[in-house]
Amino acid sequence: MTYLQKSPWIVHYNASSCNGCDIEILAALTPVFDVERFGIVNTGNPKHADILLCTGSVNERNKVPLKNVYDMIPEPKVVVAIGICAASGGIFRECYNVQGGIDKIIPVDVWVPGCAARPESIIDGVVTALGILEQKRAKMLEKGSAGSIKAGEAV
């Protein structure tokens, strides 16, 4: 287990969600579900984050902020799409201002189902994301793109 897996930091962006999934993400951070016991910390700054939790579908206006938040997260990074809106647009799919799931703008690694997604499934999604994060990190080290950092070495 590496430092990344011990304490992954998450950043949350609400693309055009109804708030249902967003408050469930916050609920997952609070005492009853308490993901902080796993070392998961919610940060407001994408530059400190490892995992992007994104809710809601993509529209013309939030395309750019979503891409910006994604670009600001340092490699390796994982994107978790939360709720059915983030997957396909869900109930709002046929609305004139909804262009579809967030995979139209950024690559998605984990899909969490539900409307609204339950905190348990959000936690499950983040834990799945940790495995993917570790794989991505290992791949980066193989390529040598992480500079002089060796596998398993604390930074």
Binding site: G20, T30, N45, P46, A116
Partner: protein, 359 residues
């Protein structure tokens, strides 16, 4: 005059989980003007009434906002019922009141938590959300959903609550009351909290009224408006006290919401003591022909649903006016002249729900 600079606030900001963009025009540390821009969550689902049958649209209306979803669903249903002149069974009306008040409890507790977070009191945030889980547990037991319930339908409600369950619920409310009392004591009597909130983001009674403030934002400035007084649903048979506070600052708005928590539990107790037996839904035939404005008190203030049908299964027009939209002009008034460090607290003090606002 010192040089003006513009500081962008949002759309991605740590204090607010939702995207709204404010351009804060600053002179030194003082905010002199605020230019809001919205549209990040606009989905345009009012147009969806043309593609969804009016009975199915309840689910879309509920997803206007995940926090006050039940109130949106129930208000839409009431509009259709008024157009079609459906007599909703008494029991269903009382059940709607019970669920609406639980929505208010969950929304206010959520807000108290986020508000505590905005002035840096993390422990209180966690405490408020812990108490909120009790409310959500009740929601889940009786409706099957935590935040999106889906129990409202045209002509009544989808599920009944047994009388044993209602009795147990009233007992559980005492525990909830006790926890909320401990929680609100900190908000209302803690010195550091009072010092942080007193005289921050002041708006006078006249300004609040003329700029169209609704809900706790208006009541915090002493404007006693509460749509529950209109007596929609079963509210005309219950005693609804309107809580107001006179200072118009962040602490007043916090006080109003903290006291409303106990109003809500009291209304649930009243509703349980008066709820009659009987069916919870009636069969609906035909299609709506006509138009109607429904007004309801959402946790954030007055909610208006305008619906127009032409006798077919598909409505012609739906328009939703949500409380946050009307609370944005008062917010801008509050922000003018405040310190930059107070901006997150003031923005949160109106309980912004951007998903509602932009639909």
């Amino acid at each position: 005059m010192s040089k003006q600079i513009i500081v962008p606030f949002g759309p991605q900001h740590p204090v607010l989980p939702e995207p709204i963009h404010l351009d804060l025009v600053l002179e030194d540390e003082t905010v002199v003007d605020v230019i809001p821009s919205i549209g990040y969550i606009h989905r345009g689902f009012e147009k969806l009434v043309e593609k969804r049958e009016f009975t199915e649209y309840v689910y879309v209306a509920e997803r206007t906002c995940g926090i006050c979803s039940f109130v949106h669903g129930a208000t839409y249903c009431e509009g259709i019922e008024q157009i079609m002149k459906i007599d909703v069974p008494e029991r269903a009306q009382y059940l709607r009141v019970i669920w609406s008040e639980f929505s208010r409890l969950h929304s206010h507790l959520l807000w108290l938590g986020c508000f505590a977070d905005s002035f840096g009191f993390e422990n209180l945030f966690m405490g408020a959300w812990k108490t909120r889980e009790r409310v959500l547990d009740f929601m889940e037991e009786t409706t099957g959903g935590r935040v999106i319930q889906g129990t409202s339908k045209i002509g009544g409600v989808r599920r009944d609550i047994s009388s044993e369950r209602l009795d147990k619920m009233v007992k559980d409310l005492d525990i909830l009351d006790q926890e909320m009392k401990e929680l609100t004591t900190v908000f209302l009597h803690d010195d550091s909290v009072r010092h942080r909130l007193r005289n921050v983001g002041v708006i006078s009674r006249e300004d609040a009224y003329h700029l169209g403030a609704v809900g706790p934002t208006a009541r915090g400035s002493g404007v006693a408006i509460d749509m529950r007084k209109l007596g929609y649903g079963a509210y005309d048979r219950l005693n609804v006290p309107v809580i107001t506070d006179s200072c118009g600052d962040c602490l007043s708005r916090c006080t109003v919401r903290a006291k409303e928590l106990f109003t809500s539990t009291d209304l649930i107790r009243q509703a349980v003591s008066k709820i009659p037996d009987g069916p919870v839904e009636v069969k609906v035939t035909g299609a709506p022909d006509g138009e109607y404005f429904t007004r309801a008190e959402q946790p954030r203030g007055e909610l208006v649903h305008y619906l127009k049908g032409n006798g077919s299964k598909f409505l012609v027009r739906s328009r939703i006016r949500t409380p946050t939209l009307t609370n944005i002009p008062p917010l801008i008034k509050m922000l003018q002249g405040c310190e930059l460090a107070d901006v997150p607290v003031i923005v949160l003090s109106i309980d912004p729900c951007i998903s509602c606002t932009e639909r």
